[in-house]
């Protein structure tokens, strides 16, 4: 997506001026009329100033969206209460540890046996350096962060249909692909094929760039030798003393490399969200949800299954039951409601909103995703393969192996992310009983690391379509759906606003959930102040 940092900033400045001069009600009106009330972004902790006269807000869902809303609204003087289906804070911000029990839909129960301090993040597992809101909340809530490694040049790329299934190192594929492309492009230049597109002066620079970028030699060839091995690694590394002569490695042939499709895995690390630096909380992603939960002690009502949401001109009334024992229906009321229940669930709950919002909720299904965590006796990926963190990608159904970006050089045991799959593979793995998900993931992984066969201990597999409180991993938007429904999903319907990753343009990311929530409470606050009373 193309960003226009300058234009929105100047608009924001204009609205601030209007707000300062004429009050927030007029500012809100101006923003709405110009269509920029939905503008988001993060420039620091939200400031909700003004007297809100004890206005009450009921928040549905104690994920990051719901908890950030409660945290900020309470600070601004609102009376807040959260209803949460689970018996813990966090929602999809979630880590599974040894001793945890997880029961998915259908009653399939897994007892997590991971050793002390080891975990699986079934949901989000990385925080890009430009997810400003999430990083700021981690700082404010004192959640300690450590680097998450996405790209590791020593990690593997594998396709069972190429190179006889042999795993290639990321650096080998990266170097050979660039080298061959640089050689081809240099040939085109030197044969005059680009004379029309590139001036004589620029052709010289382009050739120089190809030597630099692709490690081609003085005659523009990419071939076995010191130049290419400095990128792709050696058959025998340079050493000291009498054993110091390095032995260069043989690049892959262009044709075989192209047909292997291994190059497709290189681009993953070039995506904005996956560029360094990336962070993770020490001890598991769930540390953020826990920290929010501590801040909001007493505000969150756990084990509350929402069964109906009604509203009138004065407020909102929400019916709920105990999610574990059922029992009598109870009611929670407030003047306003921020609803962060996933659209996949919300679409099934009787909800008193207009057709535009209802249609928007019903338009979203949730994507399939699975994650499988495997514990091994020792960290063989480090000890045998020199892989410290990062990701091996494979064309096998497990899609990738994620190595832990923490506790390096520990003797073990260690937990790998053995599978993280979307789409057709995820649907098929979700259809397996949990123990089969784990067994198949070990089978696939053993084709990449034969050490699996001797070192595997136990595992846990989470399929997001079986998660009782989401029915999938994240809302599935297309451009057509956004054009038709997004504004209606985010609009204020009477006394109800929706928030969550599904009400953001960063779907499936925690940052999206936070920005959506902050935008919702900003608009709610403007409404409350504009109404002149706290009614």
């Amino acid at each position: 997506m193309v960003r226009e940092p300058d234009a929105p900033m100047s608009r924001r400045a204009l609205f601030r001026m209007i707000g300062a001069a004429a009050g927030s009600a007029v500012m809100y009106q101006a923003m709405s009329e110009l269509g920029y009330a939905g503008e988001s972004g993060y420039t620091g902790p939200i400031q909700l100033s003004g007297n809100v006269k004890d206005t009450s807000v009921l928040i549905l869902g104690a994920g990051l969206a719901g908890m950030s809303a409660a945290y900020e609204l309470r600070k601004a003087g609102y009376r807040v209460q959260i209803l949460e289906y689970n018996d813990r804070p966090g929602g999809r911000n979630w880590s599974l540890y040894g001793g945890d029990t997880y029961t998915e839909l259908g009653g399939f129960t897994q007892k997590v046996q991971f050793s002390e301090g080891l975990y699986l993040n079934p949901g989000p597992w990385r925080i890009p350096h430009h997810h400003y809101a999430l990083l700021d909340y981690c700082k404010r809530l004192k959640v300690t962060l450590e680097p998450f490694t996405q790209v590791n040049y020593a990690a593997g790329l594998q396709n069972p249909a190429a190179f006889g299934g042999k795993v290639k190192r990321y650096r080998e594929v990266q170097a050979d692909f660039q080298g061959h492309v640089a050689e081809l492009l240099s040939k085109c230049v030197n044969q005059g094929a680009l004379d029309e597109a590139v001036s004589a002066e620029d052709r010289e620079v382009l050739l120089e760039a190809m030597r630099d970028w692709g490690a081609v030699d003085a005659s523009y060839e990419y071939k076995k030798g010191l130049l290419s091995s400095e990128r792709r690694g050696w058959d025998s590394d340079p050493g000291g003393g009498t054993t110091s002569v390095p032995i260069p490695s043989e690049p892959m042939a262009l044709r075989e490399l192209l047909q292997s499709k291994l190059w497709r895995f290189i681009a993953a690390g070039h995506i904005y969200e996956f560029q360094s630096m990336i962070f993770q909380p020490v001890g598991g992603m769930g540390m953020i949800g826990k920290a929010f939960g501590r801040e909001l002690e007493g505000v969150i009502r756990y084990n509350a299954k929402v069964t109906q949401i009604r509203q009138d001109a004065n407020g909102v009334s929400v019916a709920y039951q105990d999610s574990k024992s059922g029992g009598a229906t109870q009611t929670a009321s407030a003047q306003w409601c921020i609803c962060t229940i996933p659209a996949s669930i919300l679409g099934q709950i009787p909800l008193q909103v207009g057709a535009p919002m209802k249609n928007a909720i019903d338009a979203l299904y949730y994507d399939a995703a699975i994650k499988v965590g495997l514990q091994f006796r020792r960290r063989f990926w480090e000890q045998d393969e020199s892989i410290y963190g990062g990701i091996t990608f494979t064309a096998l159904p497990n899609a990738l192996i994620g190595y832990p970006s923490t506790r390096y050089f520990d003797d073990g045991p260690g937990v790998l992310l053995g599978a993280y799959t979307f789409g057709a593979n995820a649907f098929q793995i979700a259809a397996m009983p949990p123990e089969e998900r784990v067994r198949k993931t070990v089978e696939w992984g053993a084709q990449i690391h034969p050490q699996y066969n001797s070192e595997f201990q136990h595992g846990v597999g989470v399929a997001w379509h079986r998660v009782p409180w989401t029915l999938g991993c994240a809302g599935h938007w297309t451009e057509a759906l956004r054009a038709q429904h997004y504004d209606n999903l985010c609009a204020i319907d009477g006394r109800i606003l929706l928030a969550g990753e599904h009400a953001s343009r960063i779907p499936a990311w925690q940052e999206g959930a936070l920005l959506s929530s902050l935008d919702a409470i900003r608009r709610l606050h403007q409404r409350v102040l504009a109404s002149g009373s706290a009614a």
Binding site: G165, D362, N425, F427
Partner: protein, 131 residues
């Protein structure tokens, strides 16, 4: 030795791929994101039961998955055809990942099992007409 371990892999990996054989999805199909199963039962066991459960009785959590077992809404073929092709609320669409033949097969399987006894068979042509 450690840095070179992966160079010893090819023979092992080849054997493992061969051993997986027809029971596992082939790599080309993984890239394409399609489903290799063809029979109605295989499709149900590898896709539908993920949400609708192995006994087709659905499940209830914060929300729910409807039962396909003994479900009168399967009586008129057009309804399940449309839902599978295009999705409906939490139900994802499968029109782009399953062929007309696969959708007909799985619907015929569900409509004749789990307490459903609908005698009219759904044809791939009938599925195609709703695309």
């Amino acid at each position: 030795m450690s840095a070179h371990r992966w160079r010893l892999l090819p023979a092992v990996a080849l054997l493992a791929v061969a051993a997986l054989g027809a029971r596992t999805v082939r790599s080309q199909e993984i890239f394409a994101g399609k489903y290799p199963q063809q029979s109605g039962e295989d499709l149900f066991r590898n896709i539908c039961q993920g949400c609708h459960m192995p006994d087709a009785k659905g499940a209830i959590g914060a929300g729910s998955y409807p039962a396909l077992a003994s479900n009168p809404r399967l009586a008129a073929a057009i309804y399940p055809i449309t839902v599978v092709l295009h999705g409906q609320r939490a139900m994802p669409p499968f029109g782009e990942t399953l062929s007309d033949e696969q959708i007909a097969s799985v619907l015929n399987y569900v409509r004749t099992h789990f307490g459903n006894r609908y005698r009219d068979l759904i044809t791939p042509t009938a599925v195609n007409a709703r695309r």
